[in-house]
Amino acid sequence: MTTPTIDRETAAETIKSKRSRRAAKIAEAAGAGWKLLLFKVVALGIIDALALYAALVLFQSEQLIPAILLLAITGIANWVYFSRGNLPAKYLIPGLIFLLVFQIFVAGYTAYIAFTNYGTGHNSSKESAVNALMLSAQERVPDSPAYDVTIVEQLGEFSFLVTDPDGEIELGGVERPLQPVDNAEIEDGKAVSVPGYNTLRFADVVANQNVIAEMAVPLSDDPNDGALRTPDGSRAYVYLSNLEYDEAAGTMTDTRTGTVYTDIGTGAFTAPNGAELRPGWQINVGFDNFVRAFTEESIRAPFLAVLVWTFVFAFLSVFTCFALGLFLAIVFNDPRMKSKKYYRVIMILPYAFPGFLSALVWAGMMNQEFGFLNVVLFGGADIPWLTNEWLAKFSIILVNLWLGFPYMFLICTGALQSIPDDVQEAARVDGASAWQIFRNIKLPLLFVAVAPLLIASFAYNFNNFSLIYMLTGGGPRDVAADVNVGATDILITMVYKVAFVGSTADYGLASAFSIIIFLLVATISVIAFRRTKALEELN
């Protein structure tokens, strides 16, 4: 595709003497006027200011690595734009930054998540899981002394200003254990305010009653010491957890039943009988998710069914659309045929209509009770278009045909017209029949042109999320399966459902499926493209 002149001339340019390079520099300086320089300074100034602010916020929330990365990237950008050379970098950096964060990083992050047990019940560190467990099992100590408490607020976050029975004054919040303060203002032996914090008025306490009642302020760093909670916003009592955490042994003991839950490396405290305490925490599980996908019975069966259907669907959708598109292209590609243009415009309409809407419209027409197909076209029949396993699959192929044949029609028409007429004429002179010409000459030539597009179309349909999700929602559902899948789910809708639909989410398993999809599509594409030598176009 490249015009060869560019290569030759740039090559010549590098040989040229220093003088021409200097001339180029002068021309550059003259060309980029002061307006451009001003724009550059202002734009970079704004970006630098934002980056600096963001880095400070990141440092404050103890996100050291992102903060350093941010500063490094900003530094590189400044260097690139203020230095003389680095021309390619000047043009590439803006796009590359987005590509790095939202394409390459997230791809890597997907791989990382695939090796963890991240998901419902496993979404934080062990430390916060321990705290959450202790809090959830808290009960008021029967003979707890009453602590006088004043609710104070700073930057929208509530804290307890506590005067304990001995008269000592302490301040603490949900994740900040009580710490003594010495400059509090005291009224009637009760601390009522402290500098830097706003004391909540009674009305505010009432307005935030639920939040305040839910707060548990740890007495010390050791979660076993218990926490303070206040039912009314003025008096707090000590609450102790029914669970006892032994950090050294890594065990949780339920003081009521005496059951010992141990950290056995599965990301949750587990009792000898296998019962787990929730929440657990996030751990690295190695290839577990992949192994589960292929071995755990309740996942394997639906997964393999989905895998097979994904391939069948992608293949059939390419095949049916291509067959119909090619047929129409041949029918309409006749010089004697009038008003082809109008047919073409009509056929483009389904292709132009947004895909997700088409699927929803068809879902309406195929509704079993009220849909147009059953009520009008089949005279009140009761055909379960979308709720019977096989009919649902058929419906998907049919709707996809409606969506996809115009594209194939367009590319086939283009490819047919690019086949030179003299090839046909020569064949006709040699006595070949119309069918022979088509079968042995036109079709092979056509395939050369459209094969890469067919592969791309296959890869596209492999992940044709909106068609499946909007038309059948993946249903009818497979009730026996452990994961939320149905008969028409393809891999990508399965990923979505495992991660985002329903009450539990298994991000680790969903990411593992994502990685599997990527490997499949990439392998197929590479092999197929190698075959068609489409990569040769890269210069």
Binding site: P88, K90, F102, Q103, V106, D334, M337, A352, S457
Partner: protein, 328 residues
């Protein structure tokens, strides 16, 4: 992501041919038709011959027209049926009124107006960003020779094999973490969604543009360089104008793609007020499927008008060969 299937660069060439062919054929068919008329004396035989040659083709055309148009007519009819359900929509065009279109903007639980505006804003900003980022990258790949150029092009080809959709979980978790620190660009923000979309701005777009940039002769740049123009001036004032058709194509493709994107938008945008048409309409119809059918139909028709119109316009843009006349 969109209704458009990939493989765009090659498709562009093919589409060019289709469009160019349209013009040629009109004249050609005129001649042929005249010839046929002169040859056939008997009307019966003429019809037989006509049918064998082109008539049956029209028959196929009519069948395919019905297949292609019917769902569209159905939804337009349903949208004109005020207060209609899925069942009443079956009586096509029995009741014509614009009431559903008005009601659409009145519903408080389903802020259609907000969805429409959101879709337009997100689509336009993403399209503009994609065009700018893609054009910058394509310019450097097309006009400059630097170490890592070939590697860069190959990497783009490989990276786009991992569609963003596959990384939905990672994108969601990343956005959750961003929200903890910068709520303004994290989960449930449109800026966040646009940033995610711009992550895919390079990739296939750069390829499309790269091919087109290569067709602009470099003698134009050189002439400008001799006249004292810097690289920035050459890029912004000369090249960008010459490649305007491909910029329009990429912008429109990106707009159409983003405005019907569902997966990532549904994960990132949580509040109904912030959602796009794809997410909002899906939730709307999956809540009460058959009851509000005419309302949904009106929403669908309005949502489709812009992409369909853009698409038909896009065909014309593709044909435009602006570069041909630029070198004197």
């Amino acid at each position: 992501m969109s209704t458009l299937q990939p493989g765009a660069p090659a498709a562009r060439n093919l589409l060019d041919r289709v469009a160019a062919d349209d013009a040629d054929l009109d004249t050609a068919t005129g001649h042929d038709a005249g010839g046929v008329r002169g040859e056939a004396p008997l009307p019966r035989r003429r019809f037989k011959r006509y049918f064998r040659e082109t008539g049956w083709r029209h028959l196929v055309g009519i069948v395919i027209t019905v297949f292609a148009l019917f769902p569209l007519l159905y939804i337009v009819s349903a949208s004109l049926n005020p207060g209609g359900t899925l069942l009443t929509a079956n009586a096509l065009f029995s009741n014509v009124s614009m009431e559903s279109y008005v009601d659409l903007f009145r519903s408080s639980t389903h802020p259609y107006g907000a969805w429409f505006v959101n879709t337009l804003v997100i689509g336009l900003v993403t399209a503009a960003g994609t065009v700018i980022l893609g054009a910058l990258a394509a310019y450097s790949f097309s006009r400059m020779r630097f170490t890592g150029r070939r590697f860069g092009l190959t990497t783009l080809l490989v990276v786009q094999m991992f569609p963003q959709m596959l990384a939905m979980v990672a994108i969601f978790l990343l956005m959750v973490q961003i929200s903890d620190i910068f709520p303004a660009i994290g989960l449930n923000t449109q800026i966040g969604l646009i940033m995610v979309y711009l992550g895919g701005a390079l990739g296939v777009n750069t390829y499309l543009m790269y091919g087109f940039f290569n067709t602009v002769p470099s003698s134009i740049d050189e002439a400008a360089k001799i006249d004292g123009a810097g690289h920035a001036r050459i890029f912004f004032t000369i090249i960008l104008r010459l490649v305007a058709p491909i910029l329009a194509v990429v912008g429109l493709l990106s707009f159409i793609g983003t405005s019907s994107e569902f997966v990532i938008a549904s994960i990132i945008l949580i509040d109904p007020d912030k959602q796009t048409l794809a997410v909002g309409l899906y939730k709307f119809i999956s809540d009460e499927f058959s009851k509000n059918w005419s309302l949904f139909a009106a929403g669908a028709v309005l949502a489709a008008i812009l992409p369909v119109a853009l698409f038909l316009a896009l065909q014309r843009y593709i044909v435009g060969g602006l570069t041909a006349g630029s070198v004197k």
